[in-house]
């Protein structure tokens, strides 16, 4: 990185911390610290909601996802706009009316203390773990680029944002997210422009799309249908996006305190609602554009040789292992295929521009891409060997590698700042929500019942700090989770369905009481977690699994084969059905 890049990066990061501290002045009580005295206009609420959801993971993994799997990931957000309308009708007015600090307070009013505590515990567990992953995401940038120790990088990375989050609470979080968003969008727009500029003369934006489209990377809409019918294990298609995405969005924005805490800072119900509705309208186009950058990077690497593996640290590991010779053979073949790829893509563009038939170069280009992918798989197989023990997933490194190798001085620094700031936006909101839930739903309920306002304020700061430290510790173990964006979404889907189910029962099934909901939540959560770890359990404890009744084995196998996005819907619907049945049983017993 050049001196100019360091200056741009340093000024951006220090500027955000200083701005956060400058905006830290709030009243010294829970209302000021966690809800910014409920004074925020809708556009700040909107930016805060978007800044909380769009973490560094979004900007690191999404372009990589488009590069490897195409743009179909955008379908994941199709259920979000509908969920925003339902939230505005049901959740938002109730939370505002009750003047709650956390979403879970409502559950005590509706059910009982134990349901409230269980739900806040599930939230703390899920959000605490995923915040750790969010800290790890920008840390891999530094460690990969400069060979820094990942342990210390995580600590420094998480530590800087803790400064203004502890100091200013929700107000500092919202104001810094506003500034972060401006920098992020400037950075991404300039990158998209630069990708096209870096292509050979005569290749324009439409040509770029034509290349990635013909090679199957602009597959925005997919149905999930195969010759054998609908593939339930297919992660991203229009149906999993609309149905699964609807439940996930409803759960994330309606019951995850990191989001509820953002729109509770609004000065009125209307301001909260407008912020959420606008989010529903801009999220899909925004995600489409981020993925498009990844598809354009894919085209760029048709004209230029892509690295065999985007994480160079892993290449260096193999280079110094006994598989060095195999690596050299793979690399030689890879270079020769890349040269062929360049010729073919140039032929394709030439034929396409002059109106000739392009089937021949496209078929040949697809074949060469298939062969390069095979070589990449061969390399990944080496990484997975026991005596190498490397990380065989480089999705998160694709966009970053491109930036460092091809972006001009100054822009590299700006784009690395973009990754940092995006990450800080979501981590800061998460720490604020983790602290508010711990203080309001646990500490003030079970540990210290009578606190003065000054004590509340002080305890809140300490909990924010403690969650920051916890998240950094989790970040140290996040290394081998594959695509980070998927890791966070998978983790969320394990818990969100049940949490959403609890709230849906609370809002719409008035006859159901606390005991039925509490027992159902525990049972459904156990089933969902078991289904997720089922393949692992069948390998580790086959003798125990074999002793189980066959219908349980079949049921769990079926559950284990379902893509994670469906778990949100299954968890929520499972909760509704089980609560209903349990309530009937409990009622009968009482009678």
């Amino acid at each position: 990185m050049s001196q100019l890049d360091w200056i741009v990066l340093g000024v951006s990061l220090i500027g955000i911390v200083a701005y956060g501290l400058y905006k830290s002045k709030t009243t010294r009580d829970l209302d000021g610290y966690f809800l910014s005295n409920r004074t925020m206009p809708w556009y700040l609420v909107l930016l805060s909601i978007m800044g909380t959801q769009a973490s560094a993971i979004t900007f690191l993994s999404a372009p990589g996802q488009a590069y490897t799997d195409g743009m179909r990931f955008v379908q994941y957000y199709f259920g979000l706009p509908l969920a925003m309308v339902l939230l505005c009708i049901t959740f938002v007015p109730i939370f505002h009316k009750l003047k709650v600090y956390t979403a879970y307070e409502y559950l005590e009013n509706r059910f009982d203390v134990k349901t409230r505590t269980l739900t806040s515990f599930l939230f703390l567990l899920q959000r605490g773990l995923s915040t750790g992953i969010s800290i790890y995401a920008p840390s891999i940038i530094l460690s990969s680029l400069f060979g820094w120790n990942i342990f210390w990088t995580n600590i420094v990375m998480g530590g800087l944002l803790i400064i203004y989050t502890v100091s200013g609470g929700a107000r500092a979080v919202a104001y810094t997210q506003q500034l972060q968003f401006v920098i992020i969008f400037v950075g991404m727009a300039v990158t998209a422009y630069m990708v096209v500029r870096l292509l050979p003369n005569g290749i324009d934006f439409i040509d770029t799309l034509k290349v990635s489209g013909r090679l199957g990377k602009l597959n925005v809409i997919t149905t999930g249908n195969t010759d054998k019918g609908f593939n339930w294990n297919d992660r991203y298609n229009i149906w999993s996006g609309i149905i699964g995405g609807f439940f996930l969005a409803l759960s994330y924005f309606g019951t995850d305190q990191s989001q509820v805490g953002r729109y509770l800072t609004a000065k009125s119900v209307s301001e909260s609602r407008i912020g959420l509705l606008m989010n529903g309208l801009v999220k899909v186009p925004m995600q489409f554009l981020i993925l498009l950058v990844g598809a354009m990077v894919f085209t760029f690497y048709q004209f230029n040789q892509a690295p065999l593996f985007f994480n160079q640290t892993q290449v260096a590991i193999v280079e110094s292992s006994s598989y060095k010779d195999s690596l050299h053979i793979i690399q030689q073949r890879y270079s020769s295929l890349s040269a062929q790829k360049k010729k073919l893509v140039e032929q394709f563009v030439g034929d396409y521009k002059s109106g000739r038939n392009t089937d021949q170069p496209v078929t040949a280009l697809k074949q060469v891409n298939k062969e390069t992918e095979k070589l990449r798989s061969d390399f990944k197989n080496i990484l997975e060997k026991e005596d190498v023990n490397g990380d065989s997933n480089d999705t998160n490194y694709i966009f970053l590698r491109f930036v460092v190798d091809y972006m001009p001085k100054g822009l590299v620094g700006l784009l690395i700042a973009v990754i940092f700031l995006a990450s800080w936006g979501s981590i800061a909101a998460a720490l604020n929500s983790l602290a508010s839930t711990t203080v309001v739903d646990i500490h003030k309920k079970f540990v210290q019942l009578d606190c003065t306002e000054a004590q509340d304020y002080s305890i809140s700061k300490w909990y924010t700090f403690a969650w920051g430290i916890f998240s950094i510790i989790i970040a140290q173990f996040a290394g081998n989770m594959g695509s980070l964006i998927e890791a966070v979404n998978v983790l969320g889907s394990l818990f969100y369905g049940v949490i959403l189910g609890i709230f849906l029962v609370a809002f719409y099934m008035k006859s159901i009481r606390g005991n039925a909901v509490f027992i159902s939540a525990i049972l459904v959560e156990i089933i969902i977690i078991l289904s997720f770890v089922w393949p692992w359990l069948t390998k580790k404890i086959p003798s125990v699994i074999d002793k189980m009744p066959s219908f349980i084995q079949h049921f769990m196998e079926g559950m284990a084969n379902i893509s994670f996005l469906w778990l949100n819907a299954i968890g929520a619907i499972g909760m509704i059905v089980m609560s209903f049945l349990l309530q009937l049983v409990l009622k009968k017993r009482t009678n």
């Binding site: 706009p81 509908l82 007015p93 505002h96 799309l209 489209g213 199957g216 925005v220």
Partner: protein
């Protein structure tokens, strides 16, 4: 309080209109994306 909340449907007259608008928005997006996918494929 609840009456005040009921009155404030932003932009449109009722929430049903919001549902209709969002469904229309999604349908238009899906049509455009399908066209985009097919055109460049």
């Amino acid at each position: 309080m609840s009456d005040e909340i009921k009155e404030k449907v932003p932009v449109f007259r009722s929430w049903n209109l919001w549902y209709a608008f969002v469904i229309l928005f999604l349908v238009v997006l899906i049509i455009l994306f399908t066209f985009f996918t097919n055109y460049f494929a």
